[in-house]
Subunit: 359 residues, 2 copies
């Protein structure tokens, strides 16, 4: 069976996960300890708490809470703000000075806690100009809100003209198209200049629509789409292009929000404890399906997707020296992760996966 | 607000629902009493029990159990068998003689209780020939099993060449393409001769993919798709064409199978108690969206979609004399239907709907 057993025992720099949801309270206490379990020591933390983080002081207070959960003391938290009318050029400059790395934009109503998100970008042009000037990164959840001709199937493709327009107006602005899920998104990112990149999640390297239609634990936004899209993501991940790197979008929800009750299913796939391992599993499955070849996946390709490209894009040097060791073994993904009144079900529970050790 | 208030007080023949799932045991006891509540006195009963109905004697025994649940004594049950290697030309002839109306085909593994369903039709050509000769109807769940290039999004469109091929080989065979969900399916049915028709469910007149992605109570197979597809179904329903008529595919599942636990979501939308009412609601919403006009929906169009076309196609005269009266009022769809150890959540629970009285 085709595999990446050549990587058994491989030493790599610690992974950097450029898109995480760590929540707050009891859920945060459950999730933060799982970060290093996934071979990750650097996390780019999304701001969509309730209420979302719209000031540097809120973000720094949050960082404090995160650091208190991390007994290793070895996680580098990169903080973001939530794009909102409260964000002004002055807020941008102040936040940059206080170490905030980026600003995340959510289209209104498209995903969790994004009911205060944006619809039109023009009001934010002064903010983007300030970000461009001081080197703050714009992180885009790139989907148009559903409407007459927009559904969750074409929401991302429909957003791409907006991406290109923003890039053309602000060519020096670093823009990340988060969690790319389509062939079209990959192509659009490629067509832009070097300041535009895209993150790819481990779960989108596995999933198509058939997988999540009847499985709440595979359901997230943007939704996984067609085999052709998954193929494009896999190829981008192993292309070696600095434009594509890991952002897990690990999005934990309590079991009751995924199953139970009679309400809508919360969107989000939980992968934090196995981020590095899942990337390897996905690549192995892709090799079995002949979407990529074992030769495509060199140590350098893997290292750069798991952290190298992202660290360089964001200029992150902290944490690059720590090492992890991959082991192809008999680790099984836990059935669930429990905390104080919370329970989170991980992606691919019960499946075998790689192990990650810290050197 | 655009509406069909002109139909308030309208007297119609009782509706005929040409695609129902009535289950067995406690679920059957819960569902059968809801049939007449939906203004329906004639039901075409699908055979996918566990185990499925593959003999006339099993089907007739099932009919007995159904009739015992029906205190009105006024429901006409039309029975079907499940297409399976056990079905032979001799079985077909014997079943026809015992009043079985049709045979239902499920593609393997595509939907509930279809793990013993078919993949290739050639082995069944002698059966189809016998059905053609003795006037038994072939009911098709028209989707290709998921595979390399097939997902739940194109499973139905991919099936249409098979539909046309069967029709060409057996031009006198009455074929029903069940629960059409795409513009392509509507067009394919139109392109075939008069022996090929299609049923349309009330829920597919409401839903697109956005509705079921995060709502198990809107999730069924074939999945609801794009606005353009919904539009094609609405237009077909009010076209007056005898090729399109009501088959609710009301598919009850216990709440635990829709929510609860950690397993996959069972596919099926439960509409039985409100079948007639939901068609009216769907048409009203379509008028509001300007997909159809109020003038498109005449009394005759409604009557024929709700039962006229179907009864003529199947040659059903029993039950045509009973009348229902529609009332546009303040009926609210019940939150749930409970039975002995079962609970089923209806489609559009809590929403207002029409009332149906029996004359």
């Amino acid at each position: 069976m085709a595999s990446l057993s050549k990587f058994d025992g491989l030493e790599l720099p610690a992974s950097a996960d450029f898109h995480v949801h760590l929540r707050d309270g009891a859920m945060m206490e459950t999730v933060v300890p799982s970060i290093r379990r996934g071979g990750v020591n650097t996390v780019y933390v999304m701001p969509n708490l309730i209420p979302p983080l719209t000031s540097a002081s809120d973000a720094l207070a949050y960082k404090d809470r995160l650091q208190k959960q991390d007994s290793s003391g070895k996680i580098n938290y990169l903080l973001t703000l939530y794009l909102h009318e409260k964000i002004t050029p002055a807020v941008v400059k102040g936040a940059k000075a206080q170490g905030i790395v980026g600003i995340k934009s959510y289209p209104a109503g498209v995903t969790t806690n994004s009911s205060s998100g944006v619809i039109s970008y023009e009001p934010f042009y002064p903010v983007f100009q300030a970000m461009e000037q001081c080197g703050m990164v714009l992180n885009l959840h790139g989907e148009c809100p559903s409407g007459e001709d927009i559904t969750i199937l074409n929401a991302e493709s429909s957003f791409l003209p907006t991406l290109k327009s923003l890039h053309n107006k602000f060519p020096k602005l670093k823009i990340v198209l988060e969690h790319c899920t389509t062939h079209d998104a990959i192509e659009a990112v490629k067509e832009c200049g070097p300041n535009v990149v895209g993150t790819i999640t481990p779960h989108h390297l596995f999933l198509t629509i058939d997988d999540w239609a009847d499985d709440p634990f595979c359901y997230c936004k943007p939704v996984a789409k067609l085999p052709r899209d998954r193929e494009a993501l896999l190829k981008a991940a192993v292309s070696g292009s600095p434009k594509f790197f890991l952002g897990s979008d690990s999005a934990p929800h309590d079991l009751a929000k995924k199953k139970g009750g009679r309400g809508k299913t919360a969107a989000g796939v939980f992968t934090q404890p196995y981020v590095t391992q899942l990337v390897l599993d996905a690549l192995e499955l892709a090799i079995e399906r002949n979407v990529i070849s074992e030769r495509d996946v060199s140590k350098e390709i893997l290292r750069d997707f798991l952290g190298g490209h992202g660290r360089r894009f964001y200029g992150i040097t902290d944490g690059s020296n720590e090492k992890i060791i991959l082991r192809k073994g008999s680790e099984t993904i836990q059935e669930s992760f429990k905390g104080d009144g919370v329970e989170v079900i991980p992606f691919r529970r019960g499946q075998s996966t790689w192990s990650v050790e810290w050197k």
